[in-house]
């Protein structure tokens, strides 16, 4: 052997040998470390799936935008085309644009052969429609014949609803048409829209013959332009002043695209919160698990220190192991996310306006993996940096080396790492939040929850120590004592379990409350069929039909269309142009369909002021109006303010004397503005009526008779609406259940990490007890006592926190009422508790497999 004087000069170890050493050293613990690091996999999966799918949809929108929008520019008018608007369109044509029009309105379709009626969304289109994309039909090729005569094409659901077939006649208003086929693919419309408003396409040449678009009827008048050259935005900008004067609204393809993609981004940001929450939960799991893993490495680190390893070399070895396993965990999550992404079109494809072509989105995958790896490492660093302080002396003696542990705030590296974790949480929240306030609210909520859970864990330990009684059975005493003695797992399990319970239950409560809002709509109100667009001279006739079939009106109300002209003497143009004012544009610009009556209806409650029925306006006075409370807020009007309305050309001045809360969920005839009768009795009006018919065939008979006599009168069967809503809410319930199960699944690896953290100690202890004479049953009961207490406290603490979290989210973010779903929350808490006990007992089963000798040799 060479003499010591011939030792070669030392040189620093290159990274490669260290990484090789790191890889070899990780041999027996790789799987464990991978298990701990894969706590973040589900979070990565959620983020990759959501962001990739959003990317797919955005890309599809861009690729199909022209077909989606219908043209390079879409022009819209409120009340039909005028010579002024037509001449502006002619200017576009003069610049080389091809223009085609579409008029859309609701109407009853009546099939004489089957005597069936259905409400349809009629689309009267020009010959060049569609300018982009193709409409396919069954039989094929029938779209080309649409303008050849009085032909119509129907949505399949409308064909079924009318029980009609190709060749049948269908009446629209006062005109009959031939059904030449059904629609197969129509660019730009989500499939689900057809369920609520099935479409009927006809040629615009015959629209006037139907006599459907008369005073008071609602229609949408659009013109689509395909430009031969030039930028649509520039072309519109050059004519903007004239467009505004003519009240011709123009939306370019770029504006439409950005509206749609903005909605998609908003949706993915919201759903991405699920992924963020899953990642954070995963981070907690990583911290617990890596802590356990680090404890097992102390001996090896001490040996390495004896053999000459510096702090940097030690940290390189173990951080590189964490990086590799973190990468693998993130990769597993990404692969899972890609798989989910491919399933999503099947689940929600028919509520999207485009056909989505699904393919991996590298950016979303990369970002998901990067975030996952970052969070895993940030949380893993906390226990890892403890390895810096392992003394080589521990190779000589296993016990503590005698130097007192520094508090974390006195140890700069630990301060830095804790700051890193805090900043990572804030950074994660910022990737999805709308603004700084939301970011800090989210981060503050997380920090607050963790603090409460840590305090709960300390309280449990404290209480366990104080509550322990000598008279209790030994197995219970041992289990309870495990909660507070040195090396206990109380904090890590309560934190992991409680945090998991908090997040899972909050998610579930928010989703179920939102869904409850949707399904609480009361369709059984006082009537089940609505008629609207009843002209004034048709009222008596309809009364006879209703009476003739021995039905009763639940309500019949006049409807007057109007717009806001001015508020407190300031015109709408003035108010819209003043950027210092805070009135909402929608409240000022929209068309109101208002009514007049002397009584408050059953779906309203006066919030402020007095109902005009109590103090009618004296003759010659300013008539009163009652506003729905949200509209009043949007208009920024208070009691005593005056609003002048443009009622089809005539100005009517009113004073606001009350505001109402309206129960919009009662599906009845509700209104934003209700006038004192004297204000509108003389105005042109139509009527709407709500009638109760005992069953479906009575509804059908009523609808049929009305539409036969008065083809312009539209009607809606509320039971059909109810069924459609039920179908939508069933889908939403399925989605919620999937999310709930996914959320619970997130908790599993995290809990496993937390419980596994002290598995080795538990096993050794259990084996020692076995050696000393404890039976399998006794050891199981000891473990059960401990895990049951941990499970109960952790899940209860999380559940209580979740009520607060859900209430805050619903109140301030979704602006919805909160109803605590106790049964569901307790069920989730119970499930998590069972999970904890199961994982604990599962982890401890090695006690029964190992022989005492093997375990003692290991000490």
């Amino acid at each position: 052997m060479n003499s010591p004087r011939e030792s070669p000069d030392p040189r620093p170890a290159t990274r490669a040998p260290l990484l090789g050493l790191a890889w070899r050293e990780s041999r027996s613990t790789r799987r464990k470390l991978l298990l701990y690091m894969s706590s973040i996999s589900l979070g990565v999966a959620a983020l990759v799936a959501i962001d990739s799918f959003a990317g797919n949809v955005t890309r599809s929108v861009r690729e199909q935008s022209r077909a989606l929008v219908g043209g390079d520019v879409v022009f819209s008018v409120r009340n039909g085309w005028t010579p002024t608007t037509d001449s502006l369109l002619d200017e576009f044509k003069a610049r080389g644009a091809v223009i085609t029009k579409q008029t859309a309105f609701a109407s009853m379709a009546y099939a004489p052969r089957t005597n069936a009626t259905r409400l349809a969304q009629v689309r009267a289109v020009g010959e060049a429609y569609p300018l982009y994309g193709t409409i396919t039909t069954r039989p094929a090729g029938e779209w080309a014949r649409l303008h050849e005569g009085r032909n119509v094409l129907l949505d399949p659901s409308l064909m079924i609803g009318l029980d009609a077939r190709v060749g049948d006649t269908v009446s629209l208003g006062y005109q009959s048409f031939e059904i030449i086929g059904s629609l197969d693919q129509v660019p730009g419309d989500p499939g689900m829209a057809a369920a609520m408003a099935p479409r009927l396409f006809m040629s615009e040449k015959y629209m006037a013959d139907t006599k459907l678009l008369i005073t008071g009827s609602r229609g949408e008048y659009d013109a689509y332009a395909k430009l031969s050259s030039g930028s649509p935005d520039e072309m519109v900008k050059s004519l903007q002043t004239r467009l505004d004067t003519a009240q011709l609204r123009a939306r370019t393809i770029r504006q439409q695209e950005s509206n749609i993609t903005e909605d998609i981004t908003d949706m993915s940001n919201f759903l991405g919160l699920v992924g963020i929450i899953a990642l954070l939960l995963g981070g907690v799991g990583v911290a617990s698990g890596v802590n356990a893993w680090v404890m097992r490495k102390i001996d090896t680190v001490a040996i390495l220190r004896c053999l000459g390893a510096t702090t940097r070399q030690v940290m390189t070895i173990y951080i590189s192991q964490a990086v590799v396993m973190g990468l693998l965990g993130a990769a597993i999550g990404a692969a899972l996310g890609i798989g989910i992404q491919f399933l999503l079109p099947g689940v929600i494809g028919d509520v999207l306006p485009v056909d989505v072509s699904v393919r991996p989105e590298p950016r979303a995958i990369g970002m998901g993996m990067l975030l996952g790896l970052w969070i895993a490492l940030a949380f893993a660093l906390r226990p890892l940096i403890a390895l810096r302080r392992v003394s080589p002396l521990q190779a000589l003696r296993r016990s503590d080396d005698g130097s007192p542990a520094r508090k974390w705030w006195r140890d700069p590296p630990r301060v830095i790492v804790n700051l890193l974790v805090a900043l990572s949480v804030i950074g994660l929240a910022a990737t999805r939040a709308e603004d700084l306030q939301e970011t800090f609210a989210f981060s503050g909520g997380i920090a607050g929850s963790l603090a409460v859970l840590a305090a709960s864990a300390a309280l449990l330990s404290f209480t366990a120590r104080r509550a322990l009684r000598g008279g209790w059975p030994y197995v219970v005493r041992q289990g309870v004592a495990n909660l507070y003695r040195p090396g206990n797992q109380t904090r890590s399990v309560v934190l992991s379990l409680g945090f998991g319970a908090f997040l899972v239950t909050t998610l579930y409560l928010v989703q179920s409350n939102l869904l409850a809002t949707f399904t609480r709509a009361e369709f059984n109100a006082r009537g089940n069929v609505v008629f609207f667009d009843i002209q004034e001279d048709q009222v008596k006739g309809i009364d006879s039909i209703v009476a003739g079939q021995q039905r009763d009106y639940a309500a019949r109300v006049p409807i007057v269309t109007m717009r806001v002209a001015s508020i407190n003497g300031h015109s709408v143009q003035e108010l819209m142009g003043d950027t210092t004012r805070r009135e909402s544009p929608w409240a000022l610009r929209r068309e109101y369909r208002s009514t007049y009556r002397s009584e408050v209806s059953g779906t309203e409650k006066i919030l402020k002021g007095k109902w005009f029925g109590e103090q009618p306006t004296p003759p010659g006075g300013v008539p009163q109006v009652s506003l729905e409370t949200e509209v009043a807020n949007a208009m920024r009007v208070s009691l005593g303010d005056t609003i002048t309305w443009n009622v089809q050309g005539v100005e009517v001045r009113t004073v606001v004397t009350s505001t109402r809360e309206v129960n919009w969920q009662r599906f009845e005839l509700n209104f934003f503005a209700v006038f004192e009768p004297v204000a509108l009795e003389q105005a042109p009006k139509t009527f709407a009526a709500l009638v109760m018919a005992p069953d479906d065939s009575a509804v059908a008979m009523l609808q049929r008779d009305v539409v036969r006599h008065y083809p312009n009168v539209a009607s809606l069967d509320l039971s059909l609406v109810r069924r459609t809503v039920a179908e939508i809410s069933n889908r939403a319930t399925t989605a919620i259940r999937f999310l709930a199960i996914f959320s619970l699944a997130m908790a599993v690896p995290v809990l496993f990490s937390a419980v596994s953290a002290t598995r080795r100690d538990r096993v050794r202890e259990g084996v020692l007890l076995k050696t000393l004479g404890a039976t399998r049953r006794q050891i199981t009961r000891i473990m059960f006592s401990e895990y049951a207490l941990l499970g109960v406290l952790g899940s209860l603490a999380g559940m209580i926190l979740s009520f607060g979290g859900a209430w805050l989210l619903l109140r301030y973010v979704f602006e919805r009422p909160f109803e605590p779903a106790f049964l569901e929350a307790v069920t989730i808490a119970g499930l998590l508790m069972l999970l904890t006990v199961s994982i604990g007992l599962l982890a401890g089963r090695d006690v029964f497999k190992e022989t005492p000798m093997a375990a003692l040799r290991d000490t």
Binding site: S3, P17, L21, I303, R305, G308, G402
Partner: protein
Amino acid sequence: MLVAQGLTKEFDSGSHHLTVLRDVSFTIPQGTFVAIVGPSGSGKTTLLGLLAGLDTPTRGRVLLDDADLTAMTEDERAKLRGQKVGFVFQSFQLIPTLNALENVQVPLELRGDSGASHRATELLQRVGLGDRLDHLPSQLSGGEQQRVAIARAFSNRPGILFADEPTGNLDGATGTRIVELLEELNRESGTTIVLVTHDLTLARRAQRLIRLADGLVVEDTNGSGVGGRGSRETATQPAGALGE
């Protein structure tokens, strides 16, 4: 050369103040085989820790080839250990996830030595384990593990080797073989060997014996032998202050 000057080590344990080593001083020339003996609690392991730079004294200093260990940072001491110090522990302290060859390579890899594998193979052959290179510690007997540990201790050609009760977990015959191996390596390489033991029979094989009791050096033969070979005697003074 290893010099201990006025080494004192004190601990605070709860409300008690304990002095484990009191003003220990000696010099160990290069190439010497020294045994440090004493009963349980005499401070042997504490002294070993200080001499090897694993710990720092409350007062006094340790000079290893004129380098003052007590004035160095932990990382500086680690680097020095990697260059000049070897260790053999009572419980072998092999890294359980590395095989015999890899365990012996560790000090060389930490120094960035590119010939680590070749050197490690050589050493294992020297200690008679040339055919067990790829065996994990769990697949080796106690004596074989200790031989791997010795090979590792010599891998960086240390100037000094510290052995803490190297035969404590071995039976008599195996232990004897281990010590004989240490002696051979000491003669071949000129490495100073500092052996801590409570076994006087083992200790008598050394050239010099330093006896500790109650944190003080009570005997230092400084080259002359002590007692005779034969029965296995252990130092059995009553346990004193905290030591091991």
